[in-house]
Amino acid sequence: MSNFSFPESIKSRPTYARLEPRAGKSYLFVADAEGAEAIIDLASNDKSLMSKSHVIYIPKNTGKKYTLQLEKLNINQLYIGPSYSAAQSRLRHTLVSSHMGLQLYLSGTEGLIGQAQRDAMVAGIPHTAIQSEHRGSIGRRMQCVHCKGITEDVDIDPYVCSHCGLSLFVRDHYSRRLAAFQGVCIDAEEPGNIPTAVELYK
């Protein structure tokens, strides 16, 4: 089981729940890595769902672990792609040509969930109407508040911004619009005083 239960935090930090079937006209899933498990679980609860679904799946570092299982689910339209950015134009196109009644399901890492949620919001789906379930890595998509650069899959605190090189502490403050948590310079007041990095949630 790849579920992680995040400790309670501030109100801007996203929370996740299990995916559950809901009334709708059509179904779109976007998942990465262990996020496939959430789809497989949902499909086993509601067999008819998959034949009306479009699944966009990015295996990331899980290789073929879940792709075979997904292929057996009788999914109406299954796309397996190498990265979120590779899949993005397909996702955006699917969203703008969709109709009201579309149900959107997101599962996997926070980075994937956040980015797909952002694209869906731009297309007109209220964020509260999107179901998302976290699975797999607890690595985060972080924005450096100073240079605005995004660093993906950050799992240590503090981390070094991959763009400007500042050491940043990892906040739970989260922006849906940027699909990122906030990183803030840790040694701004005393330059050079940087604590050793620790793994998140360890």
Binding site: G24, M100, G101, L102, G124, P126
Partner: protein, 320 residues
């Protein structure tokens, strides 16, 4: 002070639109400009009806850009407590009246990619202002308006002639009704749904949309509950130490105000939550009419919305 700011006005024009609906237009007495407002806003009209001061909410239906006059349309309700009858029978051109500043509990969500409007009968009024607002900003909208018959469909002719492609009429008399399931099916992502009309219509439209997987956040509706007349009853106001009798055709809130006790309100239609009042003691039946309190709050017998709800029983003590 309760409610919102007040404006002193004169009735400048009265237009009979059909057997049931009359339009009232107002000008400011002080000659100043009216405040602008957003489509969907209402105003509270104060009526001095004998000893009672009635305050009824009506949607503003004039052009929100027009600061020289305000207009409302009132449907006569022969069974009501008399507010609409008072407007129809007693109000004359050049009468002085008092309006509240506009308050909007039914505003457009300007993020919508398309605004889909469903109106039933007099529920057309807030859409009149919203359509003018959207036209100004080149908004994408569509109206589906159902009425009993062509002769009882206020503003239908104007709407259809100005917007032949966007306004769709449905008349009971012609056995035509809105085919909602088909209408909702195929709406582009980002469409918002707005419904204004009788309670049955709202429930039906909201239910259909939810069944088809429309999120609650994109479904907007407004239903003004006119306070219903009922059996007279007595209420004890504990903070102000007054025993008040509520008459058959006045609301609990009106009775409290009549006794000079200042009580908060905004919509006077059971929708905004402002008038929520704590019940200290009650022996009898609550007649909850609002759509503000949750069912379990209603069952708890600890709260009442005096703008629309009533009581039938021996004792009612309120913290007011």
């Amino acid at each position: 002070m309760s409610g919102s700011e007040k404006i002193n006005v004169k009735v400048s024009k009265i237009v009979l639109l059909n057997d049931l609906v009359t339009r009232f237009e107002f000008k400011r007495i002080d000659g100043e400009l009216f405040p602008t407002f957003s489509g969907g806003a209402h105003t509270i009209v104060e009526m001095k009806d004998g000893g009672i001061t009635r305050r009824n909410p009506y949607s503003l239906m004039s052009d929100p850009m027009d600061q020289h006059s305000y207009a409302i349309s009132v449907r006569r309700d022969d069974e009501g407590r008399g507010g609409s009858l008072f407007m129809h029978n007693n109000v004359k051109v050049s009468d002085d009246m008092v309006l509240s500043y506009p308050v909007n509990l039914f505003s457009l969500d300007l993020r919508a990619k398309k605004h889909l409007m469903i109106a039933g009968g007099i529920g057309i009024t807030p859409f009149m202002a919203q359509i003018k607002q959207l036209d100004r900003s080149h908004g994408n909208w569509e109206l589906h308006y159902s009425a009993r018959s062509p002769s009882l469909s206020a503003y239908a002719d104007d709407l259809v002639s100005m917007h032949p492609n966007d306004v769709h009429m449905y008349y009971d008399s012609e056995n035509k009704s809105i085919d909602l399931e088909n209408l909702l099916d195929g709406q582009p992502l980002g469409t918002h749904l707005y419904i204004c009309g009788p309670k049955g219509m709202i429930d039906w439209a909201v239910g259909q949309a939810v069944n088809l997987g429309w999120p609650n956040e994109v479904i907007h509706y407004e239903e003004f509950l006119a306070p219903k007349p009922g059996k007279p009853f007595q209420v004890m106001l504990s903070a102000s130490n007054k025993l008040v009798s509520v008459g058959e055709t006045e609301s609990l809130l009106e009775a409290i105000e009549r006794e000079g006790v200042d009580a908060p309100y905004l919509c006077r239609g059971g929708a905004c939550g402002q008038c929520e009042t704590v019940v200290i003691e009650a022996e009898g039946e609550f007649i909850h009419m609002d759509h503000w309190l949750e069912d379990k709050e209603k069952l708890s017998r600890k709260k009442i919305m005096p703008c629309v709800s009533r009581f039938d029983g021996k004792t009612l003590v309120l913290d007011r």
